[in-house]
């Protein structure tokens, strides 16, 4: 009887012990949400993971910015993907797979930023000396992602930050600022109004709460200067000219030089494009390397050069260049090159900005100084009180391209000149569609009679799966 008792008590002891241990089994090659928040180096790695979301070919690794040129008049579709053809023909369907992939990848990026913010916020470790910087970077990334969502899927038919549509609605996107941690967080969220998204973007680029905490060096991550430039761009889209002007002045004053003062002489564009990002001009870049390759050059170049020949530059882009514009051969390649340029790709209508097809490591520049000069030029022209300042900013960019000073003098002439300059300076960098949208040039977008097409459709699966919670853009 005694032994029985001993046995029973042994077993119940064992039982109690086991119940406690079985829930502690941890996967050793992944970690849980709570582990993340408890470990400073993991939080830093999580921020790196948040940056890496942009490398995807469905986002800044190719499609996001390529479509901004393809959905406008800079790039034509010469390949075989029907989903690309829909962009080129400006006849997008809501089940277009590219739209769905792009939407998903941006929200993956947002979730990674949210995850990092939440984990960093809850960690109060004394060794977490860069806590403020980590949070600020993740917030600035989040601002960038929401800005990118809003540019494609939101806004008024006449532009951005213009209030209600004729039907009395404003169009934003679903706003998620908390991480999706479990299946219970996964319920669909309705789209916010446009203003709410802008407010979130501005809050995440707040000069004191965020920008001041950002790092100052390394243009591969989002620095103070990058966030200021990004905020300047945001305010330009929002038509807050004064702040756009003052922020771009701050950015320019910190480092006014552009790379290669003259593109036409010697064509040292290779200092600016390829697997490089000179800090003198490139404020924020997306680096690629053998581990993280992109398919940018692969999509441009023909099969003979190892590509799939999906897209080419348009002849209207070529013709938008003025005579002697050093950028023409960069934006629209030819079978022959001026001295100083490489001889490849010896093919018409590609770009020299992305040519490294075998290594897949052409960088993509998010923001560079030339754009900031053009932001300030446009802001000054819009305000109208400093037209000569606008012209001189414009001339900084023109001079490098080997062009004479602008002849535009009036406000209207200057705005036209700036739009044209943006087209050729920022070609193949994902600005054209948004610029035409801001300038409300539906004529150049060929959307005068289809103005609903200025907003991309919300992915059909998203609308269907959420019932009616996530509303489709009108007329899709």
């Amino acid at each position: 009887m005694k032994k029985l008792l001993i046995n029973i008590s042994l077993i119940s002891l064992l039982a109690a012990g086991c119940t406690k241990t079985i829930d502690k089994e941890v996967p050793q090659n992944s970690i849980s949400a709570s582990d993340l928040a408890n470990d400073v180096s993991s939080i830093r790695a999580s921020l790196n993971g948040a940056y890496s979301a942009m490398l995807s070919g469905n986002y800044m690794g190719l499609r996001y910015w390529l479509f901004a040129d393809l959905y406008a008049d800079n790039i034509s579709h010469v390949g075989t993907f029907p989903s690309f053809a829909q962009f080129a023909s400006k006849n997008l369907l809501a089940d277009n797979v590219e739209i769905s992939n792009m939407w998903q990848q941006i929200y993956i990026a947002i979730n990674r930023a949210n995850t990092t913010i939440a984990a960093a916020t809850s960690n109060n470790s004394s060794i977490f000396t860069d806590k403020a910087s980590v949070i600020a970077q993740a917030r600035a990334l989040r601002a960038y992602h929401y800005f990118n969502l809003l540019r494609y899927w939101g806004g008024n038919e006449n532009g951005y930050n213009k209030g209600n549509d004729p039907n009395g609605k404003t169009w934003g996107v679903p706003l998620r600022v908390n991480p999706t941690l479990s299946e219970t967080d996964a319920d669909p969220i309705a789209r916010s109004g446009e203003a709410a998204i802008w407010n979130q973007i501005l809050a995440d680029l707040d000069p004191t709460a965020v920008i001041a905490n950002l790092p100052t060096a390394n243009n591969r991550i989002i620095t103070q200067r990058a966030a200021q430039a990004l905020r300047a761009r945001v305010q330009l889209y929002r038509e807050q000219w004064a702040e756009a002007e003052s922020l771009s002045t701050t950015v320019i004053n910190a480092n006014p030089a552009l790379v290669n003062t003259n593109f036409a002489n010697g064509g040292l564009y290779t200092n600016l494009y390829g697997a490089v990002a000179p800090t003198s001009e490139v404020i924020w870049t997306l680096p690629f390397d053998p581990t993280n390759q992109n398919a940018i050059a692969f999509f441009y170049l023909p099969a003979s050069l190892g590509g799939r020949n999906e897209v080419s530059a348009t002849t209207t882009l070529r013709d938008a260049h003025e005579a002697n514009d050093g950028r023409r051969i960069i934006n629209f390649t030819s079978t022959t090159y001026p001295a100083g340029f490489p001889t490849s790709p010896a093919v018409n209508g590609k770009t020299l900005k992305y040519t490294r097809v075998s290594t897949g490591d052409d960088f993509f520049h998010h923001i560079r100084s030339a754009e900031v000069y053009l932001i300030r030029a446009e802001a000054r022209a819009r305000i109208g009180t400093d037209l000569s300042g606008a012209a001189s900013d414009l001339n900084v960019v023109r001079t490098r391209a080997g062009l004479p000073n602008t002849t535009a003098a009036t406000q209207a002439e200057l705005l036209d000149a700036i739009l044209r300059e943006r087209r050729v300076e920022l070609a193949h960098e994902g600005h054209r569609f948004f610029d035409l949208r801001r300038y409300n040039r539906l004529d150049l977008l060929s959307m005068t009679t289809n103005s609903h097409r200025v907003r991309l459709p919300i992915p059909q699966t998203e609308v269907f799966r959420s019932g009616t919670v996530i509303e489709q853009n009108p007329n899709y």
Partner: protein
């Protein structure tokens, strides 16, 4: 207790005083049936404790009191017998072994029960039924031997993976594998396919060491295993020692194996003709393909000059790459030795074995050595300690491209042999392989590698070291109450290496390639149970309660490299260029409490209830614990008073049961929110969310009703077991797409349900039971119907797999229907969704054309004994299944590409307007202009029905008179054939395979001869 002790003491004293005058009696005890002496029989003076046991010759000598009136003889598994004694000093008698059918004991998980008292659905395969089969693991050997248990070999790799499905499949995305328990140790049966070959976690056990295999089929029988039981449970009991003389047994067999068939393919002239037609019919789109041009092109495909004449074509040598290159005669060789014995206190079973089998495809093989030992010692009357160890080491050479050989790699012998052009020679006149890279010799056709060289030069080997053992302590706590503690380990290490030889074209440019991996599986289990067996008048109780803890860890490390100095350097450290390192770690822990009560009244009314509570680290934190109940009842009608007059019914029992089980075969961390590594940004590593947490995630549930009847007629000359069941698996784990704004693509949730309904019949008849002639037939058949009851969100089919449809069976084949050949043009046609003819069927034209699950399956065994001869004839069959044969699809490309094709279909091809056939005209590129590929749709899905003479064994038991003269106790010779004959309408190598047939190692036909000697 004290009272009894006192009584015994008094009795002892009294008897010592009373029976002072003794005498001695002697005798011999033998088996009633075959007259063998029985050793270890307990002989006591009736009513006293005076006794002895028989020696190895069955002889006893006992000094008995003069007033003793009777002796009691008792022995395990034999009827106890009393013998009255008179004045004689010598008493010889025979003991009768207990009727196995009536007294048969079945293992039911943590306890045993008499078969008569079982109320669930349990099938039993005796070790004797599967002994000496040339199969490396017992799961392959139980094919066709138990109703409701479907066994399919994945392929013919010796010691390869086998799929066992008990009562169909109930899960869509979680596992459908049963739980295997060997002597109380649960086996981790993951890791079936490695990079090198296949691994079968059950191959560690020499099937000849198995005493019995019990299969717990219905939910109530399996319920004692709770969350692991939803796919049924297979309990394996190994042989144990018995008290008595030490028995030795040596067993050896050897034999060879042959391919079941070769696929008839085209010769040079026929291939040329097919190819010529293929180009010619392309003329619609290629106007240049004139007859002359088509001839030139077809000849060029064979590396022949354009002037080659038909006569020259006829005279070219035809190389048979199947018969003379890829396939070989396999061999099998097995020897094992065992000894068992012991005394009242200690008994043991020791065995050792070596098994080697070469498959019919070079260099695939399997060799295994095993040791097994069981030692059981009674420390006191109450305390027993037992230790069991099974050690094995297995060395296997793998097929080309690893796994079961399934591949589309041109270097694979089993894939390429039938597709190679017959114009290509094997070797150069000097004996070197033809067509090696760098030699300048070019193979004709797309299959451009010399498969003799790939098989000879590349090496793939795998070593599996496995230990399965347990240590068991049991203690009798009180009358009928016993505690058993078990500590068990299933440890397995799999090492594998692959060397891609730089002389072969796949690795020529990389100067060789090597991959090495080690995997470890450490699976610890401990269980503590209390068994209580007692009777109170007519009330009988057999109960168990206990707890169990299991911890499983599975990990691996691997490395790959290329750039070897030469093919002489074959170990990975010689490589100049390390490529990558890999590895993984995963683990789970479970803790369980369980109990089961079997109660019967007067052996007539039987009741049983089970409850198990499982906690598993796999489940979500909100659903950590699961409780699984079951109930069953039975009525032994034959034991009722009113049945006494019905003499011809010897057994009749009704059973009904209901139970719930769980299926925990989900990923170890499927419920967790996870962050994974592997992201790199700007040169430093990053992590990111990879999986959404689902704290509600839990086991899938099986609910099953079972009703059965066991009956026997005419002293069980005819006996049968019939079961019907309805099994519903619900809360199935499905991956549900999520709103993309969450940042995740999908989440695994418990959604959906599947139903299985079935009928199982097992029948055994003793057709003739004469003095020297006996004929016994057993037959089983299972009918099975599967249906998806619901998915999620009201969906009628799964978006990720449209063949999974509500109202349809799992395993449905969803494709377009082939409509044959247009007699006018020879073009292939299909049906569109409206039943009209189309040349270009699209995704909307897909319909369900059949199913990959069998509708009926089972086996038929006849055992005929005549004097000392015994003949076993075992058929196994499988009916109602459709299967895709990728090898056949390739062979159907008659004239459409530069590879060989299948002859019967070539002969049937459309040749002129008016031909009615199912084989379209050859067309280069395999698709007519504006037409689908001519192998589209259901053309390559075929009925895989077969009946197979799985096993035929003729045994000669050497007569007793002879064996005793030879000084051995028994001896028998046998000749055996496996897969001797198959009835199947199948164009490929064999209909029995899983997954894809392209390149897999097919089943073979085996012949063995063997000898078993006991002494």
């Amino acid at each position: 207790m004290r009272k009894i002790a006192c009584l015994l003491a008094v009795l002892f004293i009294v008897s010592a005083n009373l029976f002072a005058q003794n005498r001695t009696v002697t005798g011999i005890v033998t088996d009633e049936k075959d007259g063998t002496p029985l050793a270890g029989v307990s002989v006591t003076v009736k009513g006293t404790s005076i006794g002895t046991t028989t020696n190895n010759e069955g002889f006893f000598s006992l000094s008995i009191p003069s007033n003793a009136r009777a002796l009691t003889f008792s022995f395990v598994n034999y009827e106890t017998r009393d013998l009255s004694i008179g004045a004689s000093a010598r008493y010889s008698l025979t003991l009768t072994s207990k009727d196995r059918n009536l007294q048969e004991v079945v293992v039911v998980g943590y306890q045993t029960q008499r078969k008569k008292e079982v109320t669930g659905a349990i099938a039993k395969v005796s070790g004797k039924d599967i002994e000496n089969l040339p199969m490396q693991s017992f799961d392959r050997a139980i094919q066709g031997r138990a109703a409701g248990v479907n066994v399919q070999s994945n392929n013919g790799v010796p010691g390869g993976a086998v799929q066992v499905r008990i009562r169909g499949i109930g899960s869509i995305s979680a596992g459908n594998e049963p739980l295997y328990v060997v002597d109380g140790v649960q086996i981790n049966n993951g890791l079936l396919t490695t990079n090198v070959t296949q691994s079968n976690p059950l191959a560690f056990l020499n099937p000849n060491d198995i005493e019995s295999v019990e299969i717990l089929k219905d939910a109530s029988a399996a319920a004692i295993y709770g969350a692991r039981a939803a796919n049924g449970v297979v309990l394996v009991t190994t042989k144990k020692g018995k008290a008595g003389r030490t028995n030795f047994q040596v067993n050896a067999y050897t034999g060879y194996s042959d391919p079941l068939k070769f696929i008839p393919v085209l010769n040079n002239a026929e291939f040329f003709q097919a190819r010529y037609e293929g180009y010619l019919y392309q003329r619609i789109t290629n106007p240049n393909n004139t007859p002359a041009q088509a001839r030139t092109l077809a000849l060029a495909d064979m590396n022949l000059p354009s002037g080659t004449t038909d006569k020259q074509l006829q005279d070219l040598p035809n190389y048979d790459w199947q018969r003379d290159a890829a396939f070989r005669k396999g061999t099998v060789y097995n020897v094992d030795f065992s000894m068992s014995g012991g005394n009242e206190k200690t008994n043991f079973y020791l065995s050792a074995s070596y098994n080697k089998q070469q498959a019919i495809i070079f260099p695939v093989d399997f060799s295994r050595g095993t040791f097994a030992s069981t030692i059981k010692h009674k420390v006191t009357n109450k305390l027993t300690v037992e230790n069991q160890l099974n050690l094995s080491t297995i060395y296997q050479k793998g097929p080309y491209s690893g796994g079961g050989g399934v591949t589309t790699a041109f270097g694979s012998p089993s894939y390429s042999a039938s597709l190679m052009l017959p114009i290509n020679p094997f070797k150069n006149p000097d004996g070197t392989f033809y067509g090696l890279p760098g030699s300048g010799q070019i193979f004709a056709g797309v299959f451009n590698q010399n498969l003799l060289a790939t098989a000879e030069y590349d090496s793939r080997w795998q070593r599996t070291n496995q230990l399965v053992g347990n240590f068991k302590v049991s203690y009798d706590l009180a009358k009928g109450l016993k505690y058993t503690g078990l500590f068990g380990l299933d440890y397995r290490q799999i090492q594998n290496q692959y060397y891609g030889d730089p002389r072969n074209s796949d690795w020529f440019n990389r100067r060789g390639y090597a991959f090495a991996e080690s995997q470890w599986n450490t699976n610890f289990i401990t269980s503590h149970t209390f068994n209580y067996i007692n009777s109170f008048g007519k009330h009988n109780i057999n109960a168990v309660a206990g707890s169990e803890y299991r911890a499983d860890v599975n990990e691996a490390l691997s490395a790959e490299a290329d750039g070897f100095p030469s093919s002489e350097f074959r170990y990975i450290n010689s490589a100049s260029n390390p490529l990558s390192v890999g590895g993984f770690w995963t683990g789970s822990k479970t803790f369980s409490l369980f109990g089961k009560v079997n109660y019967d009244f007067d052996k007539r009314y039987l009741f049983s209830a089970t409850l198990r509570r499982d906690g598993s680290s796999r489940f979500g934190e909100d659903n950590f614990f699961a409780v699984f109940p079951s109930f069953s009842a039975g009525w032994n009608i034959v034991n009722e008073k009113f049945m006494e007059s019905v003499k011809f019914i010897s057994d009749l029992k009704l059973r009904v049961s209901y139970g719930q089980n769980g299926n925990d075969q989900i990923g170890n961390f499927s419920s967790r929110g996870l962050y994974g590594s592997g992201r790199v940004y700007g040169g430093s590593g990053g992590i990111n969310p990879t999986q959404l947490a689902n704290p509600d995630l839990r086991w899938e549930i099986r609910e099953e009703w079972n009703a059965g009847i066991d009956f026997g007629l005419f002293q069980n000359r005819i006996s049968a077991v019939v079961d019907v069941y309805r099994r519903v698996n619900k809360d199935l784990l499905l991956s549900r797409p999520l709103y993309q704004t969450t940042g995740f693509g999908s989440v695994t949730q418990n959604l959906g349900s599947v139903e299985n309904k079935g009928l199982e019949i097992g029948l055994r008849t003793v057709n003739i039971d004469g003095r020297s002639f006996k004929w016994v037939t057993s037959f089983n058949i299972s009918f099975q119907k599967n249906k998806v009851l619901s998915l999620y969100d009201g969906l009628q089919f799964l978006p990720s797999d449209p063949s999974i449809r509500v109202g349809q069976s799992l395993g449905s084949i969803f494709t377009q229907k082939y409509a044959g050949v247009n007699p006018a043009t020879g073009r292939p046609m299909w049906y569109d969704i409206n039943g009209n003819i189309t040349y270009q069927p699209n995704a909307n034209d897909r319909v369900i054309i059949g199913n990959t699950l069998p509708k009926q399956y089972g086996g038929l065994n006849n055992t005929i004994t005549y004097k000392n001869f015994e003949l076993d004839v075992f058929f196994q069959y499988d009916y109602g299944r459709l299967t895709f044969d990728g090898q056949y699809l390739r062979l159907l490309e008659i004239g459409s590409r530069i590879s060989n094709a299948i002859k019967p279909d070539y002969d049937r091809r459309w040749q002129k307007p008016g031909d009615i056939t199912d084989v379209p005209r050859p067309i280069n590129g395999a698709a007519e202009p504006r037409g689908a590929a001519f192998t589209s749709g259901d053309r390559t899905f075929m009925r895989a029905d077969y009946i197979r003479l799985k096993n035929l064994t003729l045994t000669y038991n050497v007569a007793k008179t002879l064996t005793s003269r030879l000084g051995v106790s028994s001896a028998r010779f046998y000749v055996q054939g496996v897969n001797l004959w198959t009835y199947a309408d199948w164009p490929g190598y064999d209909p029995e395979f899983l997954c894809d047939s392209m390149g897999l190692v097919p089943q073979s036909r085996n012949f063995t001869v063997g000898l078993t000697v006991g002494f």
